[in-house]
């Protein structure tokens, strides 16, 4: 691996930047691996990276049906925060935030993690009570989150409109200062490069089409569009396509796949200092380092795999954005797209073992899993390596839907998050 440093930059500058090499090999699939990861999004690549670096398992393939990071990882609005309500969730998401804090150094790759603060707006008494409840629960869990008055919120984010004449006036906000954003592509590429350097094979344009099982039903191999690959451990990290992959092992999942849309504006000079979310009128916004305003819309109403969604969904969000930030009313939108998010009944992820020996699943991150990428990869690698969950992901097991131990962040968030 060619390491990045100021010195390397200068050295390459003298050579006209012509001697940089590809960041990872275009690996050919081998006949067998110790572990196969299905899905080359951020979570799958992070899983492979931690398998190799933390657990000494580097004979690993990451199989990606398209190009790495081309799924939800490359389509998301990159909001990172850990101010979730329940103890289990706070532990899970804060584990990730702690890893984010050292990630660029660990990977020797700038993932542009920026802790610029995530501010969640209240518009009525119910919002205030719910956000205050979050703040107290978070503080008990050692997660930072603080209450701001409407005027303090405006001081933190000057473009915010706090006029009383608004249809849904801002009555205050909860601010997590450690929250922020990161650069989505860099996260996929940084993990891919570091995993590759440890010997992991990253195999693109390779869709898994079947899971072969042997005695006792344990997994033996995956069939792919590039041939059969033998393995005793399969980690499925396929986001919106998880139900389809798990059906290959005859498992019916508690998941539904919905389009979730986002859009960006034309680039403008730095104007927006933080991330602002409003669950009540459904809008969230930040500004990328390229200058585009990055805006998240909601999910469409129905199950779909089209990566599109309908126009009225982003329109609804833009109306809310224009009300909250009248200054943006005349900006033009550049691009609008959709990703397919895998939603669980309790809006919490599933990370763990399955009834099939050797088959593990990491899914259900729905509308809000980018923030968890490093933590999710680390915990899933632990689970694959030790054949048992880490205490942090133990509550997020698949059979909680049989036993009724739901972690109901749906009621807590009630919005794309």
């Amino acid at each position: 691996m060619q390491r990045f440093s100021a010195l390397a930059l200068i050295r390459h500058a003298f050579g006209g930047h012509r001697s940089w090499r590809p960041q990872w090999r275009a690996a050919e699939p081998k006949a067998a691996y110790d572990a196969v990861i299905v899905g080359g999004g951020g979570h799958g690549l992070a899983t492979a990276y931690y398998l190799a670096t933390e657990f000494g398992i580097s004979n690993v393939a990451v199989l990606e049906k398209g190009w790495i990071g081309g799924g939800n990882t490359g389509r998301n609005t990159t909001i990172i925060r850990s101010n979730y309500l329940f103890d289990e969730s706070a532990a899970l998401y804060d584990h990730a935030v702690k890893l984010w804090e050292g990630l660029s150094q660990a990977l020797n790759y700038n993932v542009m993690f920026s802790q610029r603060g995530v501010m969640m707006l209240a518009h009525n008494v119910h919002d205030q009570q719910s956000l205050q409840r979050h703040i107290h629960a978070n503080r008990l869990n050692g997660v930072d989150n603080e209450w701001l008055s409407a005027r303090q919120a405006k001081a933190f984010c000057p473009p915010l409109n706090i006029e009383k004449s608004m249809r849904y006036p801002v009555t205050g906000a909860a601010l997590q200062r450690r929250g922020g954003v990161a650069r989505h592509d860099a996260v996929a590429w940084g993990y891919a490069r570091a995993a590759d350097a440890m010997g992991v094979d990253i195999i693109e344009n390779c869709a898994v089409t079947a899971i072969r099982r042997g005695v006792g039903g344990a997994v033996e191999a995956v069939e792919t569009t590039r041939g059969t690959i033998e393995t005793r451990k399969i980690g499925v990290v396929a986001a919106g396509n998880t139900s389809t992959v798990m059906a290959m092992a005859d498992l019916r999942m508690p998941l539904e796949s919905y389009p979730l849309q986002a859009l960006v504006s034309e680039p403008v000079k730095p104007i927006f200092p933080c991330v602002v979310m409003s669950n009540t009128i459904h809008a969230y916004i930040s500004q990328s380092d390229k200058g585009e305003l990055v805006i998240g819309a909601g999910t469409d109403a129905y199950v779909s795999y089209t990566q599109r969604g309908a126009l009225h969904v982003p329109m609804h969000t833009l109306e809310a954005i224009c009300e909250l930030f009248p200054i943006f009313r005349r900006l033009r939108m550049l691009r609008n797209w959709g990703g397919i998010v895998d939603v669980t009944p309790d809006r919490s992820p599933i990370i763990g073992k399955t009834p099939v020996a050797g088959l593990y699943v990491n899914c259900g991150w729905g509308t809000g899993g980018f923030k968890a990428t490093p933590g999710s990869g680390h915990l899933f690698a632990w689970t694959l390596a030790k054949d048992e969950p880490h205490p942090i992901n133990a509550p997020f097991r698949l059979d909680r839907f049989r036993d009724g131990y739901l972690i109901d962040e749906a009621a807590a968030a009630a919005v794309a998050h």
């Binding site: 508690p254 129905y302 779909s304 795999y305 009225h312 049989r402 009724g404």
Partner: protein, 100 residues
């Protein structure tokens, strides 16, 4: 936005409707007889197919009635809509063919 053919009112824009989730998930007649696994599957297990999906819609801003629909989730095209209680219509392969 989808154009949805309500079996009672005809074609209307999606905004008039509310999505009702997967269709034909009959509530078990005697839940007490069910094991946890089967009950969990009834509550939470979903087919979530890449291909034809049988689903419920309700025409909330029209006749107010529920009905069922078959829609291909790979292109959002409706293959059929039909009344509650009617059997799921068989659809010709070509229309419903799901890409993998």
């Amino acid at each position: 936005m989808l154009l949805i053919d309500c079996p009672f009112c005809g074609k209307r824009p999606e905004l008039e409707f509310r999505y009702g989730g997967e269709a034909h998930l009959a509530r078990p007649a005697d839940p007490a007889d069910l094991g946890d696994k089967a009950w969990g599957q009834f509550l939470y297990g979903r087919s979530n197919p890449r291909g034809v999906h049988a689903e419920r819609w309700r025409h909330v801003h029209g006749c107010g009635r529920f009905f069922n629909a078959l829609r291909d989730t790979t292109n959002d095209r409706f293959a059929a809509t039909y009344k509650i209680g009617e059997e799921r219509p068989a659809i010709p392969e070509a229309e419903g063919a799901a890409s993998a």
